[in-house]
Symmetry: C2
Subunit: 181 residues, 2 copies
């Protein structure tokens, strides 16, 4: 059995591969359904992946989203459209006007050996939305500062970010699951 991490993002793949050397990258252009619940987004993608791919293999799908306290959790998995319409500057502006800077960065990983049974693993980091700390071409890293840190994700070295990354927490839970099973 091979384990495929379905993603077109090389950086994400490298980050996860570093912790789970057995995985392979698979680029599949899977439609993202319109849902606020990331579990449902992942479930729809995994079910589509099994339609296109022979069984006997396992799939990993990952969703990393930003949840803003001042918007009762929005955008969550809809972050792509907030980034497209508002960019990090616009998101900071709105958060500042609302006056609630609290945020949560959350990674949810779905792992499935068959479309019927998906195992979910979650990692999350609480933080604050701050003015963009630098170049804004790497998602929302420039405006997210984890609680207890003096730096935004964008200002951290890769290793430094990984230590407190919501993705690392989720991948560690998956790794533990795979070792046990």
């Amino acid at each position: 059995m091979k384990i495929y991490f379905i993603t077109g993002n090389k950086n994400k793949f490298a980050e996860v591969k570093h912790m789970l050397p057995e995985i392979e990258q698979l680029e599949l252009d899977l439609e993202e359904i319109q849902e606020f619940d990331a579990h449902k987004v992942i479930q729809a993608k995994i079910q589509e992946a099994f339609k296109h791919h022979k069984s006997g293999d396992a799939f990993i799908i990952e969703d990393t989203s930003l949840y803003l306290d001042g918007l009762n959790g929005l955008p969550g998995p809809l972050i792509k459209w907030f980034m497209q319409r508002l960019k990090v500057e616009g998101i900071f502006d709105i958060v500042e006007k609302i006056g609630n800077f609290g945020a949560e960065a959350k990674t949810i990983i779905g792992y499935a050996e068959s479309p019927e049974k998906i195992h979910f693993f979650e990692g999350s980091v609480k933080g604050k939305i701050v003015p963009p700390s630098g170049p804004t071409n790497f998602g929302w890293d420039p405006i997210f500062k984890p609680i207890g840190s003096e730096k935004t994700f964008q200002q951290m070295a890769k290793e430094e970010k990984n230590v407190m990354s919501m993705r690392r927490i989720a991948v560690e839970k998956l790794k533990e699951f795979l070792e046990k099973s």
Copy 2:
């Protein structure tokens, strides 16, 4: 050839049927893709509809969305999640804090006799977001007041609303198209 308006919303169907008596209602549970561009949402639904239904018939799919100036057009077709997370009170609160009350209500209708060729018809109404004018169980009608009106959509009688409805404008364009073809 039959023309099916695919919707689960009886009120929407009645409103459109009143102008286009030849249409029939079809309830199909079509997945909504995650997109800001309503044309793409409609296109995906129409293509899915043709997979499930015999050819020889035509389909109408309608998207009515609220675009907020202070959020650079968001939520648009993502309005469902804003309503779910924030409700009309929360949307008004955010708009008030941002300090930009401008909004646009837009209906886009897709009409297709085959999945390859979709005709689009659009109607839109500019307005302002105001404090909820009443019961909030009818979408965002209680917070949308068209420019030039003293009433929100929620405060208008049905006939009064239809006169200035973005849906009526779009349906009239479709009607004209059907009469010519």
